[in-house]
């Protein structure tokens, strides 16, 4: 079979007021791993929704040919019958059902409406082996990690006799180790003859796993590159995505020389926190770190290293059970037992999960920005709406938030713009110390650069920045110093000059026990 297994021709998809796809063509060869990349809003997810029948036939223009046949899917079931299965970024598993029940959800092993549990178990075990998951099929999905849940999703897809597997940012929520496993699995599936389409922001992953890559920009397919060809480098892909050469993925930073003598803006001493439910378990174990004004300090670690837990427990004890430790601001001990206390002492925490912990998605941009510091636009408990709007307009311009007005609900913005709103909110609070937890997660390259620029500016203004990230290149590109954590402990501190991905990774995987 020499021809393509899937061909999408001149797909056009319009939403009220927006043209999401203006002309996209995609051709996938049988048995290959085909990556799709592009900035947020480029139309990747929409294209995959068109392909999988989420947007049914008739709501778009253009043709889809799968295995040489013209397809007119009216819903997801129709596309699944043809062997096209999509795994969305937000996993669609029922947390309180078992792995086996989830795998066969909607596709139960049953005779005359009664489930055959032995058959369910047998098939589930088989499928789990294929995806390399050793947990018992009766385990509740809520009790396994995100990485394993992703594997369950793939097992579920396999149970549907998948021929074309679509993965929408499969590694966005995974740590490096789990990501690696997942990519291995995708390669394994390829050997079994399954074609995959993978949407990813992580270019190193694309290089590692994909055979070809199609680049989308502004709702158009720009080009398809052979990943194995020598000219296809990360920079080559990036320039295709943004339509310009991106020599500098990070703003030029003059490394900050810590002022000797002055007390650090924030110092955390011997901080220990227990797990909120399992109280024997130390999630953060005797961690001491400090950050000075004007400095950007990174915290690197794999998932479960305790970075977010450290930050949140310091910020108003919003995570876990505090056991011991002190927080010092400019050399004096402060109380940060509640969020208002932490904010009052000039500490801000920008969450890694903006949708759940950062924003009120149904409310407008201006009201989200002002929320953590309403007092600044209010007199005697009454908010001055016009001043609030003016503040929001200022941030809309300075942060380049792409929205027609500041009265737009935040939920309608793209990920990058949402992140800019969260950042605006905390910058508006006027803190001295900003703890940024994965500030560029799930956002496109262009928006990332804008956010790096903002962070750099904050440091230049004399704020102390703690930068938590799973992406080592951005820590290396942005930070003056990088702490590494593993299993709740601090495992190292590396100055900018000595930091390389290899050094950091070694310390992040170091077991100090």
């Amino acid at each position: 079979m020499a021809g393509p297994v899937l061909e999408m021709r001149s797909i056009v998809k319009t939403f009220p007021g927006v043209k999401a796809l203006s002309d996209v063509s995609l051709s996938v060869r049988p048995g290959e791993v085909h990556a799709i990349c592009g900035e947020n809003g480029a139309g990747k997810s929409t294209l995959m929704k068109v392909l999988s029948g989420v947007h049914p036939h008739g709501t778009y223009d253009g043709d889809i040919l799968f295995e040489g046949e013209s397809c007119q899917f009216k819903d997801i079931r129709a596309s699944e019958q043809h062997g096209i299965v999509i795994i969305h970024q937000e996993l669609a598993l029922v947390p309180y059902l078992s792995i086996a029940e989830n795998i066969f959800l909607g596709n139960e092993r049953a005779t005359r409406g009664l489930i055959s549990w032995t058959e369910t178990l047998k098939h589930a075990t088989e499928l789990l082996r294929r995806v390399g998951l050793s947990d018992h099929p009766d385990t509740r999905v809520a009790d396994i990690g995100v990485g394993k849940q992703q594997l369950v999703e793939i097992a579920k897809a396999l149970s549907k006799k998948v021929k074309l597997l679509i993965l929408d940012e499969p590694t966005a929520a995974l740590n490096d180790e789990d990501s690696g496993k997942l990519l291995d699995l995708i390669r394994g599936l390829k050997d079994q003859g399954i074609t995959s389409i993978i949407i990813s922001h992580k270019l190193n992953e694309i290089e590692a796993v994909a055979d070809s890559v199609t680049i989308l920009r502004d709702g158009r397919s720009i080009e398809t590159l052979d990943v194995k060809a020598s000219g296809t480098t990360e920079d080559r892909i990036i320039s295709g995505m943004v339509g310009r050469d991106l020599d500098h993925r990070f703003p030029e930073r003059t490394p900050h020389d810590a002022e000797v003598g002055a007390a650090p803006a924030l110092e955390i001493r011997n901080w220990t926190v227990h797990h909120p439910i399992d109280q024997q378990r130390k999630v953060v174990d005797d961690v001491s770190i400090q950050v000075r004004r004007g400095e950007i300090v990174g915290i690197a670690g794999l998932m479960g290293a305790g970075r977010t837990e450290l930050a949140m427990s310091v910020f108003g004890r919003t995570y876990g059970r505090y056991a011991s430790g002190t927080v010092l601001k400019d050399g004096t001990e402060i109380r940060t037992k509640t969020v208002p206390e932490a904010v009052k002492h000039g500490i801000a925490y920008v969450t890694e999960d903006r949708k759940h912990y950062g924003l009120n998605l149904i409310d407008t941009i201006n009201r989200n920005i002002s929320l953590s510091a309403l007092g600044k636009v209010a007199k005697r408990g009454v908010v001055d709406e016009h001043e609030e709007r003016q503040v929001a307009e200022r941030f809309r311009k300075s942060m380049n938030i792409k929205a027609p007005t500041v009265f737009e609900p935040v939920g309608k913005l793209s990920g990058g713009n949402q992140q800019k709103v969260v950042l605006s909110k905390w910058i508006f609070a006027g803190p001295d110390v900003l703890i940024l937890d994965e500030p560029t997660r799930g956002i496109d390259v262009g928006a990332k650069f804008e956010i790096y620029t903002v962070i750099d500016k904050l440091a230049a203004e004399g704020k102390a920045v703690v930068f938590i990230s799973s992406e080592l290149p951005e820590l290396l590109g942005m930070c003056d110093r990088i702490y590494t954590m593993a299993a709740g402990r601090l495992t190292g501190e590396v100055p900018r000059a000595e930091a390389t991905q290899e050094v950091l990774m070694r310390q992040m995987t170091k077991d100090k026990r």
Binding site: N360, I362, D363, R367, S372, L374, V383, R389
Partner: protein, 414 residues
């Protein structure tokens, strides 16, 4: 100061960020504005249609000044409850206890005033405190102990109903002092020369109009002062004309009968006060924030427990007020008072644009929802629809209102 403003104002207004919509932009702007607030405008239009329908059907009886007065009196207590309920629902909770609490406070008031001869103003204050205490207690369980509001207030519904019967020993207690009856049933006093109209009501109406116009103009100036975009002058004038016309119509209607009912004044103060708090006060914003996304609100430093507690305390106090108004209107406290009031208030809130998941809704919306139900009640009574069919129709209206909203959201989103 004012010269400064006028000097600056012309510049930003027409600039309008280079809007390409030239001639027919006005209509477009109106449609855009309505689309953003589809639920409320939708309900306002629906209310207009219902009013026209019944006005025709009853040969204009619906809009007779006497009937309009009656409408206000009949629905005042539900509207008072709906205001509080809207806040509770915005905060992401529900309160099933308000009907029973209404009865309970009415009973306490009756026993105080009728059996123990407590002066009525004092008794009113005591009753309001009592309602606040009951609300605070439920709020404490919900906010600080984390028991779901559905459960706590369901328990409250049973408890307060039972306590009412115990308190009244199954009897109906009355009559109430005349002063309190006046508050609930009475009208503003007659003053000045005979003009065929109720003078004080006219004056009040004109005062409201002056206030509204002044407020709108000031607001527009402030926007320009902050160099913000303002809606075009035509649209602004249209809005003012519409507002003035609405207030004027109601004023003339009431003034040609006995004047404005005292309860209407109380309601007006509550609507303006709570509307202002929910829109402009820090605490109001915090209510929206905890209802919209509780974890995010917590991480933004909102004292969520305190806010929840206060919302329920407030609901208790408004339930007490409704209880007093209700008892005084019927001049007796009865064990069966306030039956299903909580459901009417909840229905009014949802018809008026609240969302099951919290974070959405306005005080004005609750009032619109309540008036829709009130006009339906009143209109169907006038044309002689039985209470059996009235319930069926009200149920369908609730379903249709929320259904329309869901459908509309689906159309706009995704």
């Amino acid at each position: 100061m004012s010269t400064n403003v006028t000097a600056k104002s012309p510049a930003p207004a027409p600039a309008g960020k280079g809007d390409s919509t030239g001639g027919d932009g006005l209509l477009q702007l109106m449609i855009d504005g309505m689309r953003r607030n589809m639920r409320q405008y939708g309900m306002l239009i629906a209310l207009g249609l219902i009013v026209v329908l019944f006005a025709v059907w009853t040969d204009g009886d619906l809009l007779l000044p006497r009937n309009v007065s009656n409408l206000v009196l009949q629905n005042s207590y539900i509207l008072i409850l709906a205001i509080g309920m809207m806040l509770v629902i915005i905060a992401g909770h529900i309160d099933l206890s308000v009907g029973s609490l209404t009865a309970f406070v009415g009973a306490v008031g009756a026993v105080l005033m009728v059996n123990h001869d407590v002066a009525w103003p004092l008794a009113v204050v005591l009753c309001l405190l009592m309602g606040a205490a009951a609300g605070a207690m439920q709020g404490f369980f919900i906010a600080y102990l984390g028991i779901p509001s559905f459960i706590v207030t369901l328990a409250g519904m049973l408890t307060f109903r039972g306590l009412t019967e115990i308190f009244l020993e199954g009897q109906t207690v009355g009559p109430f002092p005349e002063g309190l009856q006046k508050v609930s049933n009475g009208f503003l006093p007659e003053v000045g020369p005979d003009t065929n109209y109720h003078n004080l009501t006219l004056l009040l109406g004109f005062a409201v109009i002056a206030f509204v116009v002044l407020q709108e103009v000031r607001d527009r100036r402030r926007q320009q002062e902050f160099a913000l975009e303002v809606p075009p002058t035509k649209l602004f004038l249209l809005k003012i004309v519409a507002l003035v016309a609405a207030v004027l119509t109601v004023t003339m209607m009431l003034a040609s009968y006995k004047g404005a009912p005292v309860v209407l004044i109380i309601l007006g103060v509550l609507v303006v006060g709570f509307g202002y708090v929910m829109r402009n006060a820090v605490i109001g914003r915090h209510v929206y924030a905890i209802g919209g996304n509780l974890p995010a609100a917590k991480l933004s430093g909102v004292r969520d427990k305190k806010v929840t507690f206060l919302v329920f305390l407030n609901m208790g106090m408004l339930a007490a007020l409704a209880g007093l108004v209700f008892a005084a209107r019927f001049n007796a406290a009865s064990p069966k008072a306030g039956l299903n009031f909580e459901l009417e208030a909840i229905a009014a809130s949802f018809i008026g644009g609240a969302s099951m998941s919290g974070g959405v809704g306005t005080v004005l919306g609750a009032i619109i929802g309540g008036v829709v139900l009130g006009v339906l009640n009143n209109g169907m009574n006038l044309v002689g629809v039985g209470s059996d069919w009235q319930q069926v129709i009200k149920g369908l209206v609730l379903l249709a209102a929320v259904g329309f909203d869901v459908w509309n959201k689906r159309k706009v989103g995704s």
